[in-house]
């Protein structure tokens, strides 16, 4: 690890890395994945919470036997959580790790 030293007008190693095209595109890739995904599951969850609170009649419609729309909606929250988890893990393992690792090696080897 490089010693950052006193701050000042002199650019540090980390700032040089931060400015590099490789890092900028890595950060873009990360944010482009996690921010929309976060917005998606939060909206989806809040929709569920709001419907359970204010749309009792809709949520009480029987789909089959004693199974209500509300129960199906709730179980879909489990499904969506499992799906997002799997999508993220797959994306991070396949698309993100290698690039982050390459940058890390360059930084720790003092090449950037």
């Amino acid at each position: 690890m490089t010693d950052v030293g006193a701050s000042g007008p002199v650019e540090t190693d980390y700032q040089r890395v931060e400015r590099s095209e490789e890092f900028q595109s890595l950060r873009r890739a990360f944010r482009n994945f996690v921010f929309p995904m976060t917005a998606l599951f939060l909206v989806w969850y809040l929709l569920y919470a709001l419907m359970s609170t204010y749309a009792h009649e809709f949520m009480s419609i029987r789909v089959a036997g004693t199974i209500t729309v509300g129960l199906v909606f709730g179980l879909l929250q489990f499904v969506s959580t499992f799906v997002i988890t799997t999508l993220y893990a797959r994306w991070a393992n396949n698309k993100f790790d290698a690039r982050a690792q390459a940058l890390r090696e360059e930084i720790e080897g003092g090449q950037l």
Partner: protein, 544 residues
């Protein structure tokens, strides 16, 4: 012996199975802790756990008695509304997975404050983060220990206060022993063993309940409807618990917000991410935890309706533990004394494991943030820091025991929701801002942490959970913590303040940032950002 009439199961079987759990975990704790030398060993288990092990431990830490006994009981009695809880508890993990776990692992060492103080002023920020950590831990701890008293009454048939106090003291002393001897490594193994037993036990009961009803969930629910008396089909629909008025509906939304945003700010959850060697393993931990926790909550759905169907809400509410006794009574109904003994032992183990995790978090926060960084200004050896941490464990253990005895039988179930609310208001905004917002500064963090913490605690004190709920027509007692209906100083209408305090803390972080003339540190932010995403310079595992 009026109490014995409602008490089920064989006390000696319960104690025997719990005793076996204690012996096995103690052997494991002693075996794994021979190499506990450094601070990284004590606080972070040498960072040597695999993602799968840590994920299981996270599940063990997270599935507290409140979520096991509480959710199953809430579903058994109130049906659908009990299910709402578990969904918030689960979805919350996506915040941890996507935004927090890996970045935190890459930039921190032992505590939440390590990450925050990366580019903010060390001493004030560590103080604020440590105080909010201690507050969350204290509320959570008290709730667990107070619950222990009720559990003792239910499972061991001990109904007098002195006897229950003794059992609480024994549980507390055991916990201190685990943490002192085992540090984070021992605590983690206790949580792994407990999570395995809990999920296996709940899974076996779930299959059993479904098998009795031809593997048809709808049939289980139909049976629960038949048993539910005048509630009838209402247990299939939302509204029994929260639908009474516009105010209680708002209260539920407030709770939902605190649950989904609180988890990723719980200090004992955050600390678990430091026990693995890399960000990749931290990611895997959360993935494993999400699967285990999600599957477990699906089990509780079946167990809750199953308890409603096979035991019935009347018998559940008449039992010594009230709603919390749904899962144990179902176990007795299905598998008699032996299965009840196993579930009872798992419930005790749950309290033990969760309290141990909380205690080591508080000890790390006090010793690493307050003692080493603020009082000693970093001029202290790692050995000295760990020694203080060990003493802190003892002090917190004693506080937990005394708190548990004092709060025994008190109506303090709201404390868990309060802990989530403090975590969501005081911790999460600052963590998110400091990881993602370049302009963020110390002043913004202090405004957000103290603003979130103080507003939550003040609004709770002046809410109906503390005073002023209408008196019960039968007993003449209020359902508030202060049960005398004549004492009423509440002015905030909601039980859960999250809907006010969480947005407030996010706004305060922005306001505080812009009001300060503090020079920004682009070079520190650059270092943090690069390290958080690439893992450069991250703490490595201890090799023995």
């Amino acid at each position: 012996m009026a109490a014995a009439a409602t008490n089920v199961g064989n006390t000696w079987i319960n104690i025997g199975i719990f005793g076996a759990f204690v012996v096995v975990t103690l052997i494991v704790v002693f075996r794994v802790s021979r190499q506990n030398k450094s601070a990284a060993d004590f606080y972070a288990g040498g960072r040597s756990f695999t993602g799968t092990q840590n994920g299981t431990a996270i599940a063990g830490d997270y599935l507290s008695a409140a979520s096991f006994l509480g959710i199953a009981g809430a579903i058994a009695v109130n049906g659908y509304d009990g299910f709402l809880y578990s969904i918030g508890f689960l979805v919350a993990w996506l915040v941890a997975l996507l935004l927090v776990a890996e970045l935190l692992r890459n930039t921190g060492k032992f505590t939440m404050a390590d990450v925050l103080s990366f580019r903010l002023k060390q001493r004030p920020i560590r103080m604020a983060a440590a105080l909010s950590t201690l507050a969350v831990v204290f509320f959570y701890l008290l709730a667990q220990m107070a619950g222990a008293g009720g559990l003792v009454a239910l499972l061991l048939g001990i109904t007098d206060q002195a006897g229950q106090g003794l059992v609480i003291a024994v549980v507390g002393a055991l916990m201190i022993l685990y943490v002192l001897v085992g540090g984070m490594k021992g605590t983690t193994w206790v949580q792994i063993i407990k999570a395995t037993l809990l999920i296996a036990g709940a899974g076996a009961m779930t299959i059993w309940v479904l098998a009795l009803h031809g593997f048809n969930l709808s049939a289980v629910m139909q049976e629960a409807v038949n048993m539910s008396g005048d509630k009838g089909e209402a247990i299939l629909e939302p509204g029994l618990q929260y639908g009474a008025s516009a105010l209680s509906q708002l209260d539920f939304l407030s709770l939902a917000l605190a649950l989904v945003l609180g988890t990723a700010g719980l200090p004992h959850v955050l600390m678990r991410f430091y026990t693995v060697p890399s960000a990749k393993e931290a990611r895997k931990s959360v993935v494993v935890a999400i699967w285990l926790i999600g599957i477990f909550y699906l089990f509780t759905l079946v167990l809750g309706y199953g308890a409603g169907a096979l035991v019935g809400p009347e018998a559940i509410l008449a039992a010594p533990g009230g709603q919390n006794s749904a899962a144990p009574l179902l176990a007795f109904e299905l598998g008699g004394e032996i299965l009840l003994g196993i579930i009872a032992a798992v419930a005790f183990a749950t309290i033990l494991a969760v309290v141990a995790g909380l205690t080591i978090t508080a000890a790390a926060s006090f010793s690493h943030d307050i003692y080493a960084s603020i009082i000693k200004k970093g001029q202290v050896s790692a050995d000295g820091e760990v020694r203080v941490a060990r003493w802190t464990v003892v002090v917190i253990g004693v506080i937990a025991i005394l708190g548990g005895i004092f709060a025994n039988g008190q109506n303090i179930a709201f404390l868990v929701a309060l802990a989530f609310c403090v975590a969501a208001s005081a911790n999460l905004p600052t963590i998110i801002y400091s990881l993602f917002w370049k302009r963020f500064n110390t002043s913004g963090a202090l405004w957000s942490i103290y603003g979130g913490l103080i507003s939550t605690v003040v609004l709770i004190i002046f809410s109906p959970v503390v005073s002023g709920k209408p008196a019960d027509p039968v007993t003449g007692l209020s359902k508030s913590m202060i049960s005398n209906p004549a004492i009423d100083f509440h002015f905030f209408p909601l039980d859960n303040p999250g809907i006010v305090t969480i947005p407030l803390a996010f706004v305060l972080g922005i306001v505080g940032t812009f009001l300060s003339k503090e020079r920004s540190h682009p070079e520190k932010y650059a270092e943090m950002e690069v390290r958080s995403l690439t893992g450069a310079g991250a703490e490595k595992a201890v090799s023995h």
